[in-house]
Symmetry: C2
Subunit: 280 residues, 2 copies
């Protein structure tokens, strides 16, 4: 890998997207950012070597797991080498010179607009205008300078496009967090043998009562703490499921090795997505 | 309850939203529809008696569980009395007289636009324009008759607003399903003692290794089949979780009663959301 690409990260959305902020938290502010249109494009950028790493949202406290990204992880076979969580806080952003009392239209992604309902109820003169992307709406303010307009996006987006934050943290629910995975083509689990490692795992079991219970025994018998478990119906196979499990420990720990050997006896399919140390 | 309100259903979105289609599938086409702006408004409509039932999305095959609706279910304490799944298929809809070759702009919710990427790649003359709602974009075509315009929404929305379907099923992924719950203030589990009942349950357990394993033993020891399990971190309580579990059987079955008595010994908190017979 060339030194140039070592610190690059692909993510979905424009510069300043929440995934971009997560990439900076995971890899530092000097990261070379590679914005992509779709999640699939993010994976393709990593596959082709255009980016050395990729940052994807995997779970949100309000909206649940991003199944699409689990699908891409299984298809592409990349390794999870890091994890972090971001609070999704929405800023009301305008270009310099625009005062709050001048604002009559606010552009953003409908999900973000919907997370700021109280703001729009309080300021009835302001119209919420749907846009394709949160950070993209700030970019549009900069490029097109529409009158009386503001956008809702991250503080990172405001900085990147030279915006001014008119109102901070206008989201209804302050407990809105997204968890992100950092991906690489290289496995990093051997580097994570010390400290609070986590491991992410996907498996499926035969469809009969108690089969999940037996799989969980592999972990419970060894006092391994699960931090996530989720079933997901398999496409086109009613009553069959894929399971997502995260647990404390590294694949380099002996007890994890024992648990996984045990799991291999019971599961129809299993794949370790990666062992890593989370970034708080 | 007045006879007038018995067959009414509140749901989020405009008339013709996918939740409206789910309400028709659950309750029949003659249902009195009560469109609401937000999920919270849906619950408030049921609480105030404006609607006799409510229909909410609870899980999507691509986007995961709708945690927000689990939160509202716990807050409002309503009963789940039905369930159905809908395939989310997107139709390209225009007003009568508009031909496909005339279409240069397509309005819809960005999530729907994003699920039809191949359509836009194939037809590069057509611009995707974000709108606040799928069905609402068809309503807008009807009300404002913008030139060269179409919308992406459900077949139900096309029928309601007098649209013409120009292209059918333009979604990239045909395996996009949403599961909906039907809610009522009245518990219906006593009516569901025969046939393939399902029960939805929420619980939390103390945070130590193996506690989930013990809870699952309550079901596994009685050969009760789980159809969903999902952990969700508790807000503001790191390392503590709420679990969502669905299983086959009714709360009226003796073995379910035994399992729940056993669960009551082990769980910190548990709440039965409802027993019901799914609508295929």
């Amino acid at each position: 890998m060339s030194p140039k690409s070592t610190s690059s990260a692909a993510f979905q959305g424009e510069l300043g997207a929440f995934s971009h902020a997560a990439a900076q938290k995971l890899l530092g502010r000097k990261i070379r950012a590679l914005p992509c249109q779709s999640f699939r494009d993010v994976f393709l950028a990593l596959a082709s070597g255009k980016a050395a790493t990729a940052v994807i949202p995997i779970e949100n406290t309000l909206h649940g797991s991003v199944h699409e990204n689990y699908d891409h992880l299984l298809e592409f076979g990349f390794h999870v080498i890091g994890e972090t969580s971001l609070r999704i806080s929405h800023q009301l952003i305008a270009m310099p010179g625009v005062r709050f009392r001048d604002v009559h239209r606010v552009f953003s992604h409908p999900v973000a607009l919907n997370q700021c309902q109280r703001f729009f109820q309080k300021h009835k003169r302001i119209e919420a205008v749907p846009f394709y992307d949160t950070a993209g709406s700030v970019k549009m303010l900069k490029d097109e300078q529409p009158p009386s307009a503001a956008a809702i996006a991250s503080e990172t987006a405001s900085k990147i496009y030279g915006g001014i934050i008119l109102k901070r943290n206008i989201e209804d629910d302050p407990q809105n967090f997204t968890r992100f995975f950092l991906l690489s083509k290289q496995d990093s689990s051997r580097k994570n043998t010390r400290g609070q490692s986590k491991t992410a795992l996907v498996f499926s079991v035969a469809n009969h009562p108690g089969s999940l219970f037996k799989v969980l025994a592999c972990f419970a018998l060894r006092d391994i703490t699960l931090t996530k478990i989720e079933s997901r119906p398999l496409r086109g196979k009613p009553w069959e499921y894929m399971f997502y499990v995260d647990f404390l420990g590294s694949t380099e720990d002996q007890r994890t090795k024992n648990a996984l050997a045990n799991l291999a006896e019971l599961a129809q399919f299993f794949k370790i997505l990666g062992s890593y140390r989370p970034t708080p």
